[in-house]
C-alpha cells in the first residue's frame, strides 16, 4: 500500500513537472537565466547556420545569438535543426525560444513573430548547369519556361518567390537539404536550385563540380535580411536582445563576427526591421 502511495506521489510530481514544462514555454529573460540556456532553432545551411561533423553548432546566425545571449546572462544556447517552414510553428508551440537561422524578414513572418533588428543580409542566387542552358536569370524566367523545374527549401523564401513569380506548384520541387539539392541538380531532376548567394557559393565550393555554375544575384529578387525571431508575447526578451545587438554593432564586434562568414555588416546596419517588414514584396 505504501509503495502504491509513493508511486502515485511520484507520478503526480512527474505530471506536475511536465505541466510546469508546458507553462514555462513562454520564455522571459529571468527564466532563461535561471535555466542557464536558450533553445534556438537553426537549419543546416552554411554560412548562416552549420553543424560540424562533431555536432558543434556554428554559422553566423548562431554565433551572433550565442554572444548576445551570453551578455544577457544566458550561458549556453541549445540548437535544434528544423525545416524552415517548421520554425515559426515550432517557436509558437514553445519548442524554441528564438529562431536564429537566416529566416528572412517578410511581411507575413513579421506578423507571426517578433523579429530583432536585422543581422544577416543576402540576395538570392541560382545554381544551375554550366552554360545556363535554359537561360534562367530570374524567377519570372522559370515561370515562363514550361520545362524548367526549380528546387528550393520547403517553406523558405525562395519557394515563396518562385510561387509568387507564377511558377506552378508542380514545378517547384521541395528539396529537403542543400546536399540533396545539388544532387538533384546533377542528376537533372531539377534545372535550378535557389538559395541565398552565400549559401549557394558554400555548397558549390564543397561540391567541386565543374558542370555547375551560379547566377547571382537573381534579377528582380530583393535583398533580404534576417533577424533573431521571438514569440510575439516575448517582446521584452526581444528588446533586451536588440539592446545588446545595438551595442555589438556600434563596437564593431558585430562586423568581426559575421564578416569572416562573408556577410556584410554594413548591409545589416543600413536597414531596419521596420523597413524590412514593410518592404513591398
Amino acid at each position: 500500500m505504501k509503495t502504491r502511495i509513493l508511486a502515485s506521489a511520484v507520478s503526480i510530481s512527474v505530471l506536475a513537472a511536465i505541466a510546469g514544462g508546458i507553462s514555462a514555454s513562454a520564455a522571459d529573460l529571468k527564466q532563461l537565466k535561471e535555466q542557464g540556456f536558450a533553445r534556438i532553432a537553426i537549419a543546416n545551411e552554411p554560412p548562416y547556420t552549420a553543424v560540424g561533423a562533431d555536432g558543434k553548432v556554428s554559422g553566423a546566425a548562431p554565433d551572433v545569438a550565442r554572444v548576445i545571449f551570453e551578455r544577457l546572462g544566458i550561458k549556453e544556447v541549445v540548437a535544434s535543426i528544423s525545416e524552415y517552414g517548421a520554425m515559426i510553428p515550432g517557436l509558437q508551440a514553445g519548442r524554441h525560444d528564438a529562431i536564429t537561422a537566416g529566416l528572412f524578414m517578410k511581411q507575413e513572418r513579421c506578423n507571426a513573430v517578433a523579429y530583432s533588428e536585422p543581422i544577416l543580409c543576402d540576395a538570392e542566387a541560382f545554381a544551375l548547369r554550366k552554360g545556363n542552358p535554359l537561360k534562367l536569370t530570374s524567377y519570372k524566367d522559370i515561370a515562363n519556361n514550361t520545362n524548367a523545374k526549380i528546387g528550393a527549401p520547403g517553406g523558405g523564401t525562395e519557394e515563396k518567390l518562385a510561387l509568387q513569380a507564377g511558377v506552378p506548384r508542380e514545378r517547384v520541387i521541395v528539396v529537403p537539404d542543400g546536399q540533396s539539392g545539388i544532387k538533384m541538380l546533377q542528376d537533372g531532376r531539377i534545372d535550378v536550385y535557389s538559395l541565398p548567394v552565400l549559401s549557394i557559393h558554400d555548397l558549390l565550393d564543397k561540391a567541386k563540380d565543374p558542370n555547375l555554375e551560379v547566377v547571382a544575384p537573381v534579377v528582380g529578387a530583393p535583398v533580404y535580411c534576417d533577424g533573431a525571431a521571438f514569440r510575439k508575447q516575448d517582446v521584452a526578451l526581444r528588446d533586451a536582445f536588440d539592446g545588446e545587438l545595438k551595442k555589438l554593432k556600434e563596437s564593431g564586434e558585430f562586423a568581426k563576427l559575421i564578416e569572416p562568414y562573408g556577410f556584410s555588416a554594413k548591409a545589416a546596419m543600413s536597414t531596419t526591421r521596420d523597413k524590412q517588414c514593410t518592404a513591398a514584396q
Binding site: G85, A86, I88, P89, G155, E159, V174, P176, D187
Partner: protein
C-alpha cells in the same frame, strides 16, 4: 490553438490534389506488389537451388532493411549508374517491391496449402507444369489469400507518406507545405489523419466482406 473552418475549406482543394497522388501511389504500388510477389513466390519454389536461394536471400534483404532507406537509394543513388526515375515511379517501385516480399509469403502459404494430390492429379491428367499452375493450383490457392493480401495493401496505403521524403507531392507533403507557408499545423495534419482514417475504415469493411466471401471457402 483554435480550429479554423475557413482555413479548412481554403486548403481542402490542395489536400485533395495530394490525396489523389496518395491513392494513385497505393493502387500502382499494390499492383506492383501483387505481380512481383507472385513471381517471387513461384521462383522461390524453383527446383534449381541456386535460383530459389538467391531469390530467398534477396527477399530477406529487402524485408530486413527499412523502406525509407530503400526509397533514398532508388531516388538518390540509382541516378549515379544512369537510372533516373521520376519521384512517383521511384516511389511506386520502392513501395511495391518492398511489399512484394511480404505478399510473396502470403502466396507461398496459399500455394503450399493446395493438397499434394492436386499436383499429382494434374500430372496424371498429363498437364504441363505451366498448365498445372494456371488451371489447377492458382485458382485454388488465390481466393483464401485475398484477405491477407488486402491487409498488406491497407498497411501499404498507410506507409505512402514516406514518399514525401523523395519529393512526391502526396497528401502528407501537401499538408507539410501548407503548414510551412501558413504556420498552422493543426488543420492540415488533422485532415491528413481524417483522410487516412476514412479510407482505412472503408477498407476494413471491405476486408471483412472479403474474409466472409473467400477465407472460409472450404468449410
Amino acid at each position: 490553438m483554435e480550429w479554423d473552418w475557413d482555413f479548412v475549406w481554403q486548403i481542402m482543394p490542395t489536400l485533395l490534389e495530394g490525396f489523389k497522388i496518395t491513392l494513385l501511389a497505393t493502387v500502382l504500388g499494390a499492383a506492383v506488389a501483387a505481380v512481383i510477389g507472385l513471381g517471387l513466390a513461384i521462383v522461390r519454389r524453383s527446383p534449381i537451388t541456386a535460383v530459389s536461394r538467391t531469390v530467398g536471400f534477396v527477399s530477406e534483404f529487402i524485408r530486413g532493411t527499412p523502406l525509407l532507406v530503400q526509397l533514398y537509394f532508388i531516388f538518390y543513388v540509382l541516378p549515379d549508374i544512369g537510372i533516373r526515375l521520376s519521384p512517383l515511379v521511384a516511389g511506386v517501385i520502392g513501395i511495391g517491391v518492398h511489399y512484394a516480399t511480404y505478399t510473396a509469403e502470403v502466396y507461398r502459404a496459399g500455394i503450399e496449402n493446395v493438397p499434394r494430390g492436386q499436383w499429382e492429379a494434374a500430372k496424371a491428367a498429363n498437364l504441363t507444369t505451366r498448365q498445372a499452375w494456371i488451371h489447377v493450383i492458382l485458382p485454388q490457392a488465390v481466393p483464401p489469400m485475398i484477405p491477407a493480401l488486402a491487409n498488406y495493401f491497407i498497411a501499404m496505403f498507410k506507409e505512402t507518406p514516406l514518399l514525401s521524403a523523395i519529393t512526391v507531392l502526396e497528401l502528407m507533403n501537401q499538408a507539410k507545405s501548407i503548414a510551412n507557408s501558413n504556420y498552422r499545423y493543426i488543420e492540415p495534419m488533422t485532415l491528413v489523419g481524417v483522410f487516412f482514417l476514412v479510407v482505412s475504415l472503408i477498407s476494413v469493411l471491405g476486408l471483412r466482406w472479403l474474409e466472409e466471401r473467400y477465407a472460409r471457402m472450404d468449410d
